[in-house]
């Protein structure tokens, strides 16, 4: 397995407070890697660090290039899309404008138009709401819009920060099914931060656990499912 993303000794701070103390993991091409961990462990910060949204030190290699210290917009243009904590929807723009913005960095106009239709095929509800202000969408619809907007970048790597947050179990199941299909069809890798560990390990091939800014366990999803500590702390049996 060739690594698409390699992270070593990644540290990050908010002001004077250091939150990540040397994160280390790698993620293969076409892989879905789950990141588990308690509230406040540093999962969101890890994703932010990958996108240059917090002050970071350490090594981040993406598709062979060093991206630590680069500007967020340049990292996005390299092909890393981010569904951020809180969804990051452009609330006052329409659903379709949100999708078009997702593809802002792309030059292939015709493929963009095709991809808008592809998103509508994955999420027909978005098509019904295409001319509606995104702020008026339901929570589930907004999460689907956030995922679609990120995919419109045609990324090599998709970062997902708790996509199941606030969604009904049935909607989560639908969303994860579509993520699996997209991964299988277009081979986009995913780094999936999730509170819902059982479902995340179901979808992912690899996983790691972050505790207070460090990776404490890493392995295949199957290995983590069998791990006693993981089972007790995150799977609840």
């Amino acid at each position: 397995m060739t690594a698409l993303l390699e992270v070593a000794d990644l540290r990050a701070s908010y002001g004077a407070t250091r939150v990540l103390h040397g994160i280390e993991f790698s993620l293969g091409e076409r892989s879905i890697t789950a990141v588990l961990g308690a509230n406040g462990a540093g999962k969101t910060t890890t994703l932010r660090a990958l996108c240059g949204m917090v002050r970071t030190e350490g090594e981040i290699r993406f598709a062979g290039q060093r991206i630590a210290g680069r500007r967020t917009e340049d990292i996005a243009r390299l092909g890393i899309a981010h569904v951020p904590d809180g969804r990051g929807t452009f609330l006052y723009l329409t659903t379709e404008e949100n999708l078009r913005l997702g593809a802002y960095a792309r030059k292939d106009k015709r493929a963009v138009a095709r991809d808008v239709e592809r998103m509508y095929a994955y999420f027909p509800r978005l098509k019904e709401r295409r001319r509606q202000q995104a702020g008026t969408l339901s929570g589930g619809e907004q999460q689907m819009l956030a995922v679609s907007r990120a995919l419109m970048l045609a990324p090599k790597l998709l970062l997902l920060d708790e996509p199941s947050f606030g969604l009904a179990p049935l909607v989560v199941r639908e969303l994860f099914g579509i993520l699996r299909a997209i991964n299988a069809e277009s081979g986009v890798s995913m780094l999936l931060v999730e509170q819902n560990a059982a479902m995340a390990l179901e979808l992912a091939d690899h996983a790691c656990v972050i505790e207070t800014g460090r990776v404490v366990i890493a392995g295949t999803a199957a290995e983590l499912k069998r791990d006693d500590g993981v089972r007790r702390a995150y799977l609840g049996y």
């Binding site: 996108c51 500007r71 996005a76 452009f90 913005l101």
Partner: protein
């Protein structure tokens, strides 16, 4: 009845100019959440550039276009050089920078061009006049409407316009989709300066050209922007037209021309008291 119609039409002509300047204020407000007090002086300075070009023998319309272009570039430069460094500074610091910009532009204009009042040409042929409006009033209204229509089309239908709207309302998400937010803000300043330049050139034949020509106009524009909702471009345009018409009607029939500026102040205070978010603006819980 005819006298009323006359005042309404005259009000629309000046109201269009308030509307453009109000729109410039709104564009900056949406990106910075602050009112650019120097917007009027930027327009005044651009009008002097137009005046210099025309005096140097450049034809009116080439001078007009060149001025709009120069104003755009100056607007971008002002953002990059003066506003950028105080991007994350406290509100008061930015307000001081705006006021400093106002004073500097005013004095530099006075220093270069002197404070003597100059006349500024109107490009519109007499044939443009109609029964109730002078050629300049008709022309200014037309030019304003064209500018507003172009801006609408730009923001509504081009990817760059969409990106500028996105960058103003959600910079973090904008960066995540690859938008260079800093440049979008600079472009916003450029566009606002360009729109202001048009307003200046359209109003100068009426109020004459001097370094303080925009102070009253800016007050009306501010009233217009507040009336429409300081974060609503469409509201600013409607607000500008309403303020223009009100100003003329009240000036002609109620309070007389000497007290017209009071209309603007009363409107500003009234709107702030009764409906702080204006009539088209989004109600917002305090930010800053």
């Amino acid at each position: 009845m005819e006298a009323v119609l006359l005042q309404v039409l005259a009000g629309l002509a000046t109201g269009g100019i308030y509307a453009s300047l109000a729109l410039a204020l709104v564009m900056i407000y949406q990106a910075t959440h602050l009112v650019n007090f120097a917007q009027g002086e930027m327009a005044m300075f651009a009008t002097y550039i137009a005046w210099s070009l025309v005096n140097a023998g450049v034809g009116y319309w080439p001078a007009f276009l060149l001025t709009v272009l120069i104003a755009f570039v100056l607007g971008v430069l002002i953002e990059r050089v003066v506003i950028r460094p105080v991007e994350n500074a406290p509100v008061l610091a930015v307000v001081v920078v705006f006021i400093g910009l106002l004073v500097i532009l005013n004095s530099v204009a006075g220093w270069i061009f002197t404070y003597t009042i100059k006349s500024f040409p109107s490009p519109f042929p007499p044939a443009l006049g109609i029964r109730y409006m002078s050629p300049h009033q008709v022309g200014a209204l037309l030019v304003t409407l064209i500018v507003l229509a172009l801006l609408y089309l730009f923001f509504r239908f081009t990817p760059l316009g969409l990106a500028m709207r996105a960058a103003a309302q959600n910079p973090v998400s904008s960066r995540l989709v690859g938008i260079r937010v800093g440049w979008m803000l600079a472009l916003g300043w450029g566009l606002a300066a360009a729109v202001g330049a048009v307003a200046g050139m359209m109003v100068a034949p009426i109020v004459y050209l001097d370094p303080n020509m925009m102070s009253g106009i800016l007050l009306y524009a501010f009233a217009a922007a507040l009336l429409g909702g300081i974060d609503s471009p469409g509201g600013a345009v409607v607000g500008g037209l309403v303020v223009g018409v009100l100003e003329n009607l009240l000036g002609a029939f109620v309070i007389g021309n000497e007290l017209k500026l009071v209309v603007a102040l009363v409107l500003i205070v009234g709107v702030l008291l009764v409906r702080p978010s204006g009539f088209f603006g989004s109600v917002q819980v305090s930010r800053v």
